[in-house]
């Protein structure tokens, strides 16, 4: 497949944006493959994802951004320019639950997730054999109340040294510091085992059981400073009945968690997610 460029844009809504952006691509000989736009009429914000074939594009790859900048400035755009040849570098954080980890390891190996799984970091040694079985480097980073800050410092150091673009919390049972979160704003994806905003925090399946709900869910979201309050990327649900014990809910929930997390990671890696106003636009 030929290389493609993708622009992700958000800006105040105004006449002519779409014509300007598509005109820029057309004038320079680009063939548009996907174009998806959305307007938040309440807040008057324009969003766009546009992907075009670079073969035959008159502007060399390295100069596209510069060429586009005047348009961006004219419309006060926030924008990102990505190329299909880029490979995002990914780190997974995990504790002891292995179902999300396996799912991601399998999907990276199978090539379904576009990106390089650089490392798996855990506060326990339990899943080291699994990670190494898939040929991925494992980092043991134990955490106690006392060493938490230092441990995080070390982790940040590793993540930066390795040039990590995306951090996936695959049922990681530790809360990250504001400092950590801030460092990787909109680049940390978590899976929460409830249908947010229901059952924020600990033991959601137990609380779902107590409440007697008839459907349970899972939610993947970007991590922010507030627990389970970040922008939601994807959710899914499954039916339960009075026959389902807490253990049944946990089991059924695992199948949700791993799929919901995998979808969120996939979309992020394909540059299909735009964050604004603590929400997401998904250009699926």
């Amino acid at each position: 497949m030929a290389e493609t460029a993708t622009l992700l844009i958000s800006c105040p809504d105004r006449k002519g944006i779409l014509a300007e952006v598509t005109g820029f691509i057309a004038r320079n000989g680009g063939n548009i493959l996907h174009a998806d736009q959305h307007i938040d009429f309440q807040k008057s914000i324009f969003f766009m994802r546009i992907e075009w074939d670079l073969s035959g594009f008159k502007i060399p790859k390295g100069e596209i951004e510069k060429a586009f900048r005047p348009i961006a400035q004219q419309f006060k755009m926030n924008y990102q320019l990505h190329f299909s040849s880029e490979v995002k570098r990914v780190a997974i954080f995990v504790s002891k639950y292995d179902h999300c980890l396996y799912e991601l390891l399998y999907r990276f190996k199978a090539g379904e997730l576009k990106g390089e799984l650089v490392t798996v970091i855990s506060n326990h040694r339990d899943l080291q054999p699994v990670v190494e079985m898939f040929g991925v480097p494992f980092v043991y980073s134990p955490k106690s109340r006392e060493n938490k800050r230092e441990a995080e410092e070390r982790e940040i150091e590793i993540l930066e040294r390795e040039g990590i673009d995306l951090i996936v919390l695959a049922r990681y049972m530790q809360i990250l510091s504001d400092r950590f979160v801030n460092r990787f704003r909109n680049r940390i994806i978590n899976i929460h085992h409830s249908f947010l905003p229901a059952f924020v925090g600990a033991k959601p399946y137990h609380r779902a059981y107590e409440r007697g709900v008839k459907i349970i869910g899972a939610t993947s979201h970007y991590v922010t400073e507030e627990l389970d309050q970040g922008p939601i990327i994807e959710q899914d649900v499954v039916r339960v009945t009075h026959r389902d014990s807490v253990e049944d809910m946990i089991r059924k929930g695992r199948d949700l968690e791993k799929l919901v997390l995998a979808r969120a990671v996939k979309w992020h890696l394909e540059n299909k997610v735009l964050v604004y106003d603590n929400k997401t636009v998904i250009f699926e």
Copy 2:
């Protein structure tokens, strides 16, 4: 179809309950049509719904309860005995939204809901023509902060005079007093336009939009003194995306609300719901 009897039972779990109950029916020549049991192992409670054909049953209808009582006492059962010839009497409360009302009017008319729709009570006159178009008596019961207590008294009087078994709040925009709720314990079904326990209270679709959820829901539950905290009977959900405005969510939600409410009413009318511990067992 021949007449049937249905027993709904809950009691402390113990050996021999099922044998005793089914033995009672078999000894007396009853043919069991449906038997469904459930044990809450955490709390050690036994639940059962058993329905049998009365043709050829040796005990006359009017004496079944007496004959069954010793078994009930032996096992400390809470139980209800229902007959398929019973017709439950239903009142609907409604304000101005008409989608749930239409759905129920249609289903009663079509015979899908087993029961007699005796009256529709509303604090507005808007839906009177609709109700009367379906040939159902309409009661206008206006409510203001000042007259609320009196209005409720009058409503209770009507409900009791008419021998109402079930009250359905079909998007009724008024909060019932504790006194009212208490009088019709486990006999008032409400539809809440969110996936409880998310978005308890007012304007759930607006808050769902604000939060950026990817799925919205509706919940039918028995009304208790605490707002939106009663035992959940049924829930359902539908996907939304960033493209859905609040208005879109309201529109999509309407289709959920009417179906979820209709299912809950149907199960209640068919004696398929047991309430315990602020939860429901649904013998569907």
Copy 3:
């Protein structure tokens, strides 16, 4: 709300289409509200739906088509131009089943379906009272093997005299002649009570029961000369178990049928459906 114009376009995929169309709108002062495009890469066909605000648009409504024509010719476009002020005229055909009819009558009345329900035509008198209760003219058009051709002729005459844009078969239990279908190509929407292409033809719920499926469905599609083979607009499904009798499936299916049909009609009336190659593109 201000008036809008909508272009529905399909043409061979080529560089520059999007830039040309959006440029046309921008140059003339139009504010784009929605733009959705799709490329079938297998067949190299470009599809687009674009809607813009006419307030401030420099070309008068009546001349837009003429002004756009050169672009359409340049790119060999099939296109439709619609205005939000247009009201499509709708006829419903029905036999004896009333659930889809009620649903549509309610939605037209509630203003959820954009269009005017001009008439309901039936080969039975059973639903006349329902239709008239909603204030819609009812036409009784009995059909027997002998009079079928004449009856259809009369129906076509009525439909043409009334300027009907869309015909909805709301569980209409008659097969239309090729002549009829051809006259209203892509303007007749049917609801089939199965998950097509499973169970084409008669008694799909009975056959679903016989086959022991665990999920049943409903499908709305445009009618073509071949039975149940037309372009699918929408489908939905619901779970069943071994406990569900044929009657239970029919009952559960009704809820699917009416929602699936209502969605298809809504999209058609909002000019969100493009047909090509016996498939649909839904610009939802």
Copy 4:
């Protein structure tokens, strides 16, 4: 957890079956944990799954069947007696697709599937490393048109030598001979990548794409002599749109296939499936 016994019963429907079976367990001091019954009223067949705690049960495990036999004969029962201590022995057949295989390998390893995964047999060597990575013996059994019969003979020999109870075809791209199927009647579970009975046979995703369906599915079923016509155990579906290419459908379908197959295998291993009349009763 204490050991339990499970009876799976089917027989002509008659008065007194439930009382007799539960009486047998109660008289002998058994504590019933789960009891689920179903009557096919159309064919007048009674089905039951009943599980009870063996601690304190007066009849020794080895003599239960003999003790129960008179009841079975009286009611002309087909029945199976299982003990929770039994471990079913499982073989997986696989070709080159690995997603179902991984899912099953993971679930057996995680203990979610009750049974012993004894061997994986494949007509290709591709997945040998994966299988061995999970510590499961791999058998390479190449198949050509010429050697097919011999290859199958060898496979049957292995399966019988190993005492295999259940064979799972995890996207195995070979058709089994009638002889093979007959040898393991109701003990071979296949996953078909469509919503049966739609798209029986080869390339269902391609055909779903061609037909323009809006939902795709997967079906797990017992293998019979007729291709894709065996008793359906489980099905599930996912939405697709005009935007989904065949490749997208294949990708989305993989997630269905692995979950649907895993559920079917789980239920079979927990003795929750009864087959009759080319259908299944699932005592979930």
